[in-house]
Symmetry: C2
């Protein structure tokens, strides 16, 4: 060991792991990759009801195996609708019982932001892989606790960044990487929604941790990162709040700018008060391309400065991200949306809030 560099050590470890998988467990691996992983949905709100549960039915490698809910009426309705055995229904307080349930492989955490760490840690301690909605949590510290808990349990932690599975975004990434229009210079991204109902948890700081930025601005931020393939080194932000009652506890609107190590800069926006901002544009030395709308569940499309369209057949993004997560587990390969990625966004969003609060640009190491 003493003569091995860190890279050599990691490489040799990976080689051994791979060899073990191939030689010793080849048969089991093959059986594994054809079986469907059992998902338990933790939190049965709108997203679970209208997007994730229907999407699970479209996956190749996943199945809806269980639920975690604090609402008995929801438990009954879901059990009936999806034929979920009574033994696979959990409350938030008895998630530890999952340890004895081999029917559940993955817990998909779809609860308010500030509950993600607690539930992720419970699931990991029960031996389950965790797929967690964005934002990962409300602080960097909690994100780290989630990562640590999953690592300690030897389970995989993924963040539900569906856009990284959208062919339109993948095409934009390809256009950047292959420098089809030359080197990237300036990226523009924005995502704003009219948040609606003033009573919802998204407007409560204790549950949401933040407002528009944490909920939808995160898509714009993420996009600037996966498009450039770089991490921002400087962020600067200005916040505005025009409805101080509805948005008493969280941010209403935010505009921010970032600089990346290569010199690329980005300018971005988010809001809970205005619809219609849903776009992403990459400007490069010899042209540009954009998606507008960019962040919908479906219907995203775009155009390029050479007149070509960016438009692919629609897929279910929730099904795509869950299938990929399941395959990563089944095949023992890393996910491209690990918990570490979720943590990075939370760290940058905290820097954006700090900049807006202090009036200073914040450096990110």
């Amino acid at each position: 060991m003493a003569t091995l560099s860190r890279r050599q050590f990691l490489t040799s470890t990976a080689t051994i792991a791979m060899a073990t998988l191939i030689n010793t467990d080849a048969t089991r691996a093959k059986a594994q990759s054809s079986r469907k992983l059992g998902f338990a949905l933790c939190g049965l709100g709108n997203l679970s009801t209208h997007q994730i549960a229907p999407a699970l039915a479209k996956t190749k490698h996943c199945r809806l195996a269980g639920i975690v809910t604090g609402t008995p009426a929801k438990a009954e309705a879901w059990k009936a609708q999806y034929d979920i055995p009574a033994g696979n229904v959990y409350s938030y307080n008895d998630m530890h019982r999952m340890a004895d349930n081999p029917d559940i492989d993955v817990v998909y955490v779809v609860t308010p932001n500030a509950l993600h760490a607690e539930q992720t840690i419970k699931a990991a301690q029960a031996g389950k892989h965790v797929f967690c909605e964005k934002p990962m949590e409300v602080s960097v510290e909690r994100c780290q606790q989630m990562i640590d808990a999953c690592r300690k349990a030897g389970r995989v932690l993924g963040t539900a960044y569906r856009c990284q599975f959208d062919p339109h975004h993948l095409e934009c990434i390809r256009l950047v990487r292959e420098e089809v229009f030359g080197k990237t210079t300036i990226v523009q991204a924005g995502f704003a929604i009219d948040v609606g109902d003033p009573a919802q948890w998204r407007l409560k700081r204790a549950l949401a941790g933040g407002g528009a930025l944490m909920d939808v601005g995160i898509y714009a931020l993420q996009a600037t990162r996966y498009l450039t393939g770089e991490e921002p080194v400087l962020v600067s932000a200005i916040e505005t709040k025009t409805d101080k009652i509805k948005f008493a506890e969280v941010d209403e609107s935010m505009v921010w700018t970032t600089r990346f190590p290569s010199g690329v800069v980005a300018y971005c926006s988010t809001s809970y008060r205005t619809g219609g901002i849903q776009n992403l544009r990459v400007n490069a030395e010899r042209g540009w391309f954009e998606l507008d709308p960019a962040f919908f569940y479906d219907g995203n499309h775009g155009r390029r400065s050479d007149g070509q369209e960016i438009r692919f057949p629609e897929i279910d993004l929730f099904a795509a991200e869950m299938d990929d997560f399941a395959q990563c587990i089944l095949e023992g390969r890393p996910t491209k949306v690990p918990g570490e990625d979720g943590l990075r966004d939370v760290r940058i969003m905290q820097a954006i809030y700090e900049s807006a609060r202090t009036g200073r640009a914040v450096s990110l190491g």
Copy 2:
């Protein structure tokens, strides 16, 4: 006088002035408004050659009467092409002689930025009105000197903000003012060009005063001001420079954010290294509208969130702004692009540079 408020005084003064104009000078005023004002172009570069001189031929109230140039060969060529009398040809050093030339009413200053003050002041002292290209000058102090000189001479000073005469921009202003999509929330604007020739004066600090921001970013900045009808109270900016040789003296690319008193925020960009950013988008409570391209000499057009197009018949923007300036002079009414407007942009751009340099948001009173 002692019993009059300032407003009453101004109103009564204006009434007297108007009465004088109507009663005493009615005949002359009528003759005036039908005559064409003589324009002298000061600086015969690309803009004068390819845009302004051809545009003058399309105006109703202006005519190309004279030129100011430091290049004898250009003087000869222009004299021949435009039938300019020898007595109406000036060098930068003998502009004071214009005082004796009633054939010249207006000097249109089209020289490098850092020469605007000197030439404007000379023109004003010779009794001429001045129409000045953007940016007005390279410092707030010099802009103020220009304003003072014109005021002292009783002459009108205008800034060549052609977009304020573009029907597409006027339509956007109308959509904001009439709140067709509700109150404005977030404005996005960017203007970037590939500046080309590394030897040009635009890349020399001494002549240009700044780079992309001063030259094209100013259009994006202006647009956020005339669209909202407000002055920014806070600016924050990040600069980037990837070609440190070509852009050794001036800014290459800049992204910035601003907040306005009503709570509207804007996010903007400019660059000398990348083409293709040419847009303007207003997001409001119930929809959005945008121009893309927004800042061309012609061909600008746009769309609205309700599916309607924003497209008007093309006009010559240079002819439109010169005709309006001439009419303002002939009819004794104020221009909507006074020197004070040019100064405001220079002040805000200086704040943007300061923010980029210091890493702090800069408040504007």
